[in-house]
Symmetry: D2
Subunit: 390 residues, 4 copies
């Protein structure tokens, strides 16, 4: 889980990652590839095409001699937020795009894969390899979003169809314990030759106070106690922004929870199920994670505490909300050109999540990884880890 | 065009109408059946299922002994606005429904068709026949909406795919003339034994003043002159509500018009084409129809003038906006139960359109037919006929 | 009540009408003149200034030699919807205007009154007299809106302050009766030399069917029975547009009704009072008027029925919703220039109200008068008269 | 500027602060006290009453024997966001409240002042003194908001009325220099017996990297160069959230800037003036401050860098945006009860501003003070200080 992507054989890696994306989509029916139920949930078809466009635009067009663009409109259609790369279709309209069809998108993938394979088979250009590494990491991020978006699309079908028995979070197994950290200077962030994103660097010192972190994630059982104690109705537990949000959006449970005649169910990728009380609570916003911790009389960890303590507990089932807003590390340098848009432009009013989830690509996690989402996000695979000051 | 549905052989009629719906969808690819680009544009899949649900709900469930409901959720999923028939899915969410799939919906149609055929083959119950007639007229209305919605879905693809060379409006052929009507009492509305909707009855007298109507519809050439004369910028030509609407929505041409480097194109079901200046202008709102008439120094006809004069000119290419708000005729009686919701509840703040369009089902037009839409509607097959007082 | 404005002595009329506007504002405190609680409710200060601006802009500037504009910005500030007269402040922002102050606005009125008096004292120009007549009718319309707006501003104070014992609707006194009309051609609309608006003309024939109208307005007692019978929860009684509106806006009583511990109160200009069950129900939308009539098994009158029958019953307490959409009469001609904007541009998706209310200026009512508002309006002084077909 | 409030004589302090609030309002006319042009801009009348309510609710009701509440409704009317204190009027509706009037609010102040004076004249209860200190600091915060809100209300009058020659920012006088800090552990936050807010504590260590800060604030001249260089059109300079915000709200200058025929003006409390190019740029959002720094190739300071370097430069003219999101310090404890709502609930998606402004109350600034606003805020007295890593 915690290893970095081994990139000696870039071509093999390329083929493996590309295949994995399609494997995630394998249980889908054609219609499931199309809709965009809310702005941040993209159609699976779009993910398949966009991650392909990335290689066409940033690798093939620039580095492969005599490369023939697959289709002149695709650059416009499958750009996401790379403002530097010209026009793009407005994000909320992705679900209206019925053409190209799913089959055509798979053809596009096959064409780009073939061209990329030819290129990678012979290239020794380190610049190409570096950008391909970014492209693969980019595609792995989209693999995870694919899982989120598929769950959302299927989970909002009135008929709750099952996807498959994949990406299921397991119950906590260890007994609850608290691990403590002694105050002092700690080294935070990534360095060295393994792959990491610009936002994980540079490695730098942070002074951390005495604190402790819990080894197990908060369970559905604990969270249900919070609900039953009126947690969603006590404004003292919530941030002002959170209180307005949950009231306006009538939120009073995690996403995908349903109460039928007093019994609790939640939609899982295996269909609608009775809630497993021993499993970690999933699909909570930062708002809810914070309010739960307030109610418990403890708090969420900062991302620095999390990283400094990360060797002491198991992680990787669910992304863990930290109280840290997503900011640049000291001496942060954003990459040049379009790739520079990738991380820096989101460093405002987002919260950092640490760890990884069952939907994270296999070589795509490390203790320095900084995931980030807006505090209101609930369709991500998020959970709650508690911390406290000592 | 102007004949009423011949219903002697109700089973043959049923089969013909049901087949025609599927024929309209024949050029679509699976993905095209799914999205709902705006609230009033329903997914083709939904039309196919909803028109089927109508027969299941109002005929088979009530009149066929031992009928087995095809799927318990479909009543909920494919109800439209029949509040009397229990829960329904919110209209703006139809485009999020990926299940049942297109194939499953066709299976549903086949099942209901088979059951209906068994029933109709042997029924002599006039009540059944009457409701089937309504169901077929209902399905014919959805056939027309299907054409509108397909055009909208494809017309908003950035790639402007062609549908087929069907439902194309032809250029005016007759020379322009004005036909006049002498003031007096005229009989308006439907009576007799042929099929008509409740909103067309009862037949009644209306006093009409001296007036005249133009034999030909307003052409793209004429409309372009209005655009070039600044028609969209002169608030004196527009209703207050219209002026706000076109400014807020940045409307300055009919729907589907595009200007590339000074040349005008419009999206047609045959793809993106140079505008045919001799063809009738299509896809205008009531707002635009009214403003154009103001600019010309004439006006739109009332629905009564239209009906009284309708034998004097050719109609049937495009629905024609009248200045009449959609109101009940004197002594109007709405039908009982769920079918009563059909027309009466829309009799507020809608405008009547008269005539028919190239997308209207073949036996589904008559001079007393009252179509109605909100004044802002532009995705319908609408055009402009001029009138004047004498 | 039903006399037309006697305009022999235009100067006396001018002074009387102008004084009446200020008399309406007399009970207000300075702060009450400022806010605009919703877009259609203008600040009293604005009414005072706008009705003054009308005379400055349309009379003094054009007809008085050497007239000195009072303040260069006022034309911009106090224009309403006269697009032809140049820039204007956006309607929803009127409540943000603290300058000019109330005193300054009264000074403006005094200045324009003095200048107008000089002009009218000596003019024999019929064009001037005609436009002054329009200005006075315009100001009388604003007098009525002033009453509505003052009631809204004070009625939404959490402390429900009283205004004065003026403009109070009295209980019905006559026993309930129905007056009938025999079918035939009736003459509708205004003609002759008395003042009337362009929208009341020309007089023309309308064929009306047998019908009857109730002599008394619907009472609070009757309306409460409708509420208690679940009228607001039965969608069969409502138009589609109405049903969406009342649900979205959580409407389940007339405006200004409050229930405290099971007892009903309503805000009146005399303060918060127990509801008088014998008084006519007030502050209902067209939506509500229609639904009530549906529930009673009768209907609202058309504006033509109302006018043809108007000599048979007393009216003038509350404006009466008709089922007629506001449309131009045959051969309607709108006035030239800015004054032409006055009526014609609203002839779309509004309903006609007939009669007058206790807030109507004394010489400002006649049986041909066509008031109009959007079907959702509730802050106007509206009531319900029932009709039926025979 | 940098001294803490001397509270030996609590009664004298009370009287001085209370008087200062009224002094700020002295140039206003009655009408100016009423409107609320946007949700975050409160009516001056409301500030006057709310800061009074604070003393009534938290001091007099609890600590003064036989205290008579001034008016039973005021607790409801003038509560702000203290959810713990019962119902409150919705924030966006404050501008609709015309009653109590301005005079009545001043009477309320006088009454509470008299009662408070009686209490403070004799109290030795430290609990009372502590809460009064909070109340005075609270009122001083509202004094600053009063200045912002008055400027907004007057600045959006089409006539740009002057307020007074107060609260005017002066041009930079020192030559531009950069002061550097050596990396290491620094002590951040407040401690000791002087007054400070809960969010400034506890004092704690922070490791800071080598960096430098500029002694002078960014001037209008520099900012104009950014505008002229197309800064508002280059998305590479902006956060994603910022780019959407400025485009949606059509922002392309600081607030209050106006361009007339190519010349730049800005609204100041002294009226509309030619922009003083040597004065610090004012009324910029965090979005704009960040984009400007990006364009300059430097960055904003963190709040820790700012505090550690604060003795090296002059501050106090304008609040200075830092790149630090507003988060609790390690071991932060929020106060009990309603006062605990004061700071903690805003610690999400807000940015810290450091320093003080010309509108800050005289004893209400210190280097540990943490002001905070949403990144989009522009009506506050904010400016830009630059920093860089070394």
């Amino acid at each position: 889980m915690n290893k970095t992507l081994v990139l000696e054989d870039i071509l093999a890696q390329f083929q493996m990652v590309r295949k994995q994306t399609e494997s995630i989509c394998e249980p889908l029916l054609t219609e499931d590839y199309v809709p965009q139920p809310r702005a941040e949930v993209s159609p699976p078809k779009w993910h398949l095409a966009h991650s392909t466009w990335f290689f066409e635009q940033f690798v093939l067009v620039k580095y492969k001699a005599d490369y023939q663009i697959y289709h002149k409109d695709y650059s416009y259609l499958f750009n996401s937020y790379y403002n530097n790369m010209g026009d793009r279709i407005l994000k909320p309209n992705r679900g209206l795009m019925t053409r190209p069809t799913v089959d055509e998108v798979y053809d596009y993938r096959a064409y780009v894969n073939a061209e990329m394979s030819k290129l990678l088979d012979q290239t020794t250009n380190q610049e190409v390899i570096d950008i391909v590494k970014i492209g693969l990491n980019h595609e792995q991020q989209h693999q995870e979003l694919l899982v989120y978006d598929i769950k959302y699309i299927l989970g909002f079908q009135p008929t709750f169809p099952a996807y498959a028995n994949r990406f299921i979070v397991k119950p906590n197994q260890a007994p609850e314990e608290w691990y403590s950290l002694e105050k002092g200077l700690y080294s935070i962030g990534a360095s060295g030759s393994g792959f990491f994103y610009d936002n994980e660097a540079p490695e730098h010192k942070v002074y951390i106070q005495n604190c402790a972190i819990r080894n197990t994630l908060v369970t559905n059982r604990e969270y249900l106690a919070f609900i039953n104690a009126g947690g969603y109705k006590d404004f003292n537990l919530w941030h002002e922004e959170a209180w307005e949000y949950i009231n306006e959006n009538k939120i009073n449970t995690p996403l995908y929870w349903h109460n039928k005649n007093g019994e609790w169910f939640n939609y899982t990728l295996g269909g609608l199920k009775s809630i497993n009380l021993d499993a970690p609570v999933q699909h909570v916003s930062f708002y809810e994670a914070f309010a739960f911790a307030e109610w418990k009389g403890v708090r969420l960890p900062t991302e620095f505490e999390w990283e400094a303590l990360s060797e002491k507990f198991n992680w990787g089932q669910l992304w863990e909300w930290t109280y840290s807003h997503y900011e640049p590390y000291p001496n942060f340098k954003k990459a040049h050109g379009a790739l520079g848009e990738y991380n820096g432009k989101f460093m405002l009013n987002q919260n950092v999540l640490r760890g990884a989830s069952v939907a994270t690509a296999q070589n795509h996690s490390r203790k320095t990884y900084r995931n980030f989402f807006h505090a209101s996000s609930r369709w991500i695979f998020s959970g709650i880890r508690l911390a406290k000051s000592l």
